[in-house]
Each structure stands twice: as C-alpha cells, then as structure tokens.
Amino acid sequence: MKLDLLTSLYVFMLAAFIGFEVIRRVSPLLHTPLMSLTNALDAIAVVGAIILAGEHKNNLAAILGTIAIVAATSNIVGGFIITDRMLRMFKASGPKKP
C-alpha cells in the first residue's frame, strides 16, 4: 500500500510538470476552451464512479456512484460539445486585403 502511494506521487509529480509545460504554451486566445476541455478530461473520474456503481457492493455506494456517473458524464458530453463549438468559431483572416 505504502509503495503504491509512492508510485502515485511520482506519477502525480511528472504529470504536473508535463501539464505546466504543455499548458504554458496554450495561447491566451484559447484560455476559455482550455478550461472547458480540461474540465471534460477531468471528468475521467467517471471510471471510478462506474466501478463503484457497477460493483454494487451496497446500496449507498451504488446510489452515490450512479449520481457520480451522471455528474461526470454531463461534464464529458457538455464539455466536449462546447469546446468544439468554441474552437469552430476561431477563424483566421484568410485571403483578405491588408
């Protein structure tokens, strides 16, 4: 158990560094889509909720798990839809006279 936690800490630290380096490069133009996209990706917490509800170890866990699935799935679906809608709106000038 202790070993696992240590590995987890390494993973967390490396991921945080990758996050910093990758996200620092995101143009301020796209900060709003960035937030909605990371929000959708964060809803990967749904996998934990699926296992909780699916295992159905007791009724409390099953009910809370199902509500958690609903909350996370709405973030996944809504987050991806709105991010894509926003990104479709960003267009370059194209062939326009200077």
């Binding site: 987890s8 960035l34 929000n39 990706l41 799935t73 926003m86």
Partner: protein, 460 residues
C-alpha cells in the same frame, strides 16, 4: 488478461489526453485536440466496462444516459453564458469526486491506513468546498445571487477557522479511522466553507476565482486517483490542476494581486473615499456622427472590449463596425486584457463568435507597444483595465496593475453608459484627458449608430 487490456486502454487514453492539451496550443490544431480527448475518453470508458467486477450494468447505463441527457444542453448554452456553465461544470466534477470519496470511506471503514485516510480526506474536503464554491460562483455569474462582494467584520477569521476545523476533523480521522461518526463533518464543514469563500468575491475577480476552483477540482480528482490507485485519474487530475493553477497565476498577475488578496481581500470598500472628494470635472462628449467621422479619418484603430460589451451583447455590432472600417482601409485591431470579462479568454470567445478573425485579437503585451502609433483607441465597456492611475498614481488601489495604455493613442473614445465608477469603485482619470471623447449610451446601440453613420457617409 482482461486486466491488461484495460490498462492498455488507460495508457492510450493518457497519451491522448496529453496530446489533446498539446494540440490546443494553437487555433489551427485545436480541434484535433478535442477529437483526441474524445477518443481517449471513449477508450477509457469502454475499457472500464470490461472490468470483471462490474455486475450491475443497469445502474451504469442509467448514469451514462442521464448524464448525456443533461450534458447536451449544457454544451449548447449561448457563448455569453460560458462563464457560469464553466463554474457549474466545476461543481459537477467536484460532486462526482466527493460522492465517490464518501462511498469509498464507508466501504473501507474502519480499516483505513493513515496515509490513505489523509488522501481521502483531502479528496473529500477539496471536492465539497469546490462543489458549493462553484455553485456560488455560477449563481453570481448567472446573477441569481448578488454580484457585489458581501463582506463583514471578522470574515477571514471565520473562514480560516472553518478550514482549520475541517483539517482538524481530518487529522482526527487519520488517527482514529474507526470514528465513522466524524466523517459527515468532513463533508459538511467544507460545504459551508465553499459558500463563505465565494460570498466576498465580486464580479471582476471571477476570472481568478474560476481558475482557482478549476485547479481545486483537478486536485480533488487527482486525490481520488490516489485513493483508487488509478494512474489515469491522477494524471488527468494533475493536468487539470496545473491548468487551473497556471490560469490563476496569469489572472492574478494581470490584476497585480496575490491569491490570498483575491480570496481574502474583498475589493469593494474603497469607493466611498474616492467619491467624497470628487468634483464635477468637465468631460468632452461626442455624438455618433462625430465619432464616425473621426474613425473613418483614422488609419489605425484599436478597440478595447470589456465586460460591458458582453453585458450589452454588442459583439455583433462591433463586428459590423470592424467590417465598415476595414472596408475603408482602416487597420482595426483588438486589445484584450487578460482579465477582461468574467473568465480567462472570455472576450476572445465572444469576438470569435461574432466572426472577427482571431489574428486581429491581440494580447495586452503585444498591442501595448503600438498605442503611440494608433490614431483612435475605442473602449467599449471596459474601465479599470484602461485606467492610467494604475501606472501613475501610487495611492490608487489598482496601482501596479498592468493596463492597456490606451491613453497613449492620439484620440481616445469611451463608450459608457454614464460616469459611474468601474467595478473597483475607482475614478478613471482617462475620461478627463483632453484627447478623450466620451460617447454616452448603451454599447450595442451606440456602436450601431456609428455603423449607420459610416454607411451613410460611404454612400454620399
């Protein structure tokens, strides 16, 4: 065998998530980023469904379908409602994490090793305070709740006390995980704390606060990953957490304030002093016709939009103005302050929605050098981010905040409803400059009148 297959889907999903954020760095590759994210998400969910321990597929299906039904309308809100939608989705994410954490506690108690209990406490505390905090933020942004900061004496003491109490309960549980009765307090206290934390926050601080809540949501998900020993979740949480953190840093730098100042500062108290000494200094005002003739004679125009443009829904009229001026050969660009609007990047999204090309939208640092060569700076619904007192008056509450140097343009025009002070309650000396023309009126209709004048002059 199946366990390995599941792990493989998780590893691919992790890689796709990182690529997704990497591709978001530029508008040309950004949509690919969304596809990568979707693919990764689908893979991870399908992989999870293969897990042998799942016996009750009905509940899972109900959850997924209901979530999708709620998610679709949340993905289709108007662009002006994006800040409150974002706050709401932080709340949903935090809700999921809190509920899973709660279930894990009751499934495992009383045999929870201390380290595990510590991480679980962090998950639940962060999750529940983010849940109510984000709901409050969404309520303020939707204007269901008052937007003005609500402050009272000893507020910070009360808030810090509550946080300390929650941590105290967590410590007690770490030492005595069999005290199951203590657990509800670990949820309840942070729930109240989340509300109290956002009560003193005003509208203009929302960009920082939303980013901070974003970061908390990510960290709570990462903590959940520790508890469930899921590397995928730790990584996704860490990415979200660092994204929120970076944005918070950018936002607070752009306001020249620290996190603690945003969270514990309460901004609204200064205005009484400023209002007292204020004499009626004359300002110059102009009509739409005069504004149109000055604009059409210019060769370089910089438009500075602010939250007022969003409130007046003026972005489509602004696009017409942009078209009319561009057609006359005027070089029109937009100067976007990082904290303009109610969330990071808010103005860019609204202007992009109105079909203004993104290469015309310039960051503060890029456009600031160009103001001395700019004929007209047109300010639409922005105030504090253009206030030269931030540069010159060391007594001003916003002194040191980076601003758009519109006062260096040859002519400054300000579309404003009235002479009322901005969010920070600070008078703006920009309005009394000789080169400044005040255009009093609603942003949408005033820009509309300028466009009409430009059209009329063009035909004659």
């Amino acid at each position: 065998m199946i366990e390995n297959l599941i792990e493989v889907t998780y590893i691919i999903a992790t890689a796709l998530f990182i690529l997704s954020l990497k591709w978001l760095s530029s508008p040309t590759t950004a949509r690919r980023g969304v596809w990568a994210g979707e693919l990764g998400m689908a893979l991870a969910i399908c992989g999870t469904l293969l897990y042998r321990g799942i016996v009750d597929f009905k509940l899972v299906a109900i959850g997924l379908v209901l979530g999708a039904i709620i998610g679709v309308p949340l993905g289709k809100v108007a662009m002006t409602a994006v800040p409150q939608r974002t706050a709401l989705s932080h709340a949903f994410g935090a809700l999921c994490v809190t509920l899973v954490g709660t279930s894990e506690f009751y499934l495992r108690a009383p045999d929870i090793p201390p380290l595990m209990m510590a991480v679980l406490s962090m998950e639940v505390i962060l999750g529940s305070l983010t849940f109510t905090g984000s709901l409050m933020a969404a309520g303020k942004l939707q204007e269901i709740l008052p937007q003005r900061p609500i402050t009272y004496r000893g507020q910070n003491l009360v808030n810090l006390g509550m946080l300390a109490l929650a941590i105290g309960v967590a410590v007690a549980l770490v030492m005595h995980p069999d005290q199951v009765k203590l657990f509800p307090a670990l949820i309840f206290i942070p729930l109240v704390f989340g509300v109290m934390l956002i009560v003193p926050i005003g509208g203009a601080d929302m960009p920082t606060v939303i980013s901070l809540l974003n970061s908390y949501a990510g960290l709570s998900a990462a903590a959940m990953g520790f508890v469930l020993n899921s590397k995928l979740l730790i990584i996704a949480g860490a990415l979200d957490g660092s994204s929120g953190f970076i944005l918070s840093v950018i936002m607070s730098k752009a306001m020249n304030r620290s996190f603690t100042n945003v969270l514990f500062g309460g901004f609204g108290q200064i205005q009484s002093a400023a209002a007292g000494e204020q004499e009626a200094i004359p300002v110059k005002s102009a009509t739409a016709e005069e504004a149109a003739s000055i604009l059409s004679a210019a060769s370089r125009v910089a438009i500075v939009p602010g939250y007022g443009m969003a409130v007046a829904q003026a972005q489509h009229k602004v696009r017409e103005l942009y078209d009319a001026l561009s057609k006359r050969g005027v070089d029109v660009r937009f100067g976007i302050h990082p904290v303009a609007g109610r969330m990071p990047g808010h103005m860019n999204v609204l202007l992009a929605e109105a079909d203004i090309p993104y290469d015309r939208l310039l960051e503060m640092d890029v456009i600031n050098g160009d103001f001395p060569q700019t004929d007209v700076a047109l300010i639409i619904g922005a105030n504090d981010v253009t206030n030269p007192a931030a540069r010159t008056d060391s007594g001003s509450p916003i002194y040191g905040m980076p601003i758009l140097n519109v006062d260096q343009a040859r002519t400054v025009m300000v579309i404003k409803r009235s002479m009322a002070a901005g969010f920070a309650g600070i008078d703006n000396p920009l309005y009394y400059l000789d080169k400044t023309l005040m255009l009093f009126g609603d942003a949408k209709s005033f820009v509309g009148s300028i466009v009409r004048e430009l059209g009329g002059a063009g035909m004659s």
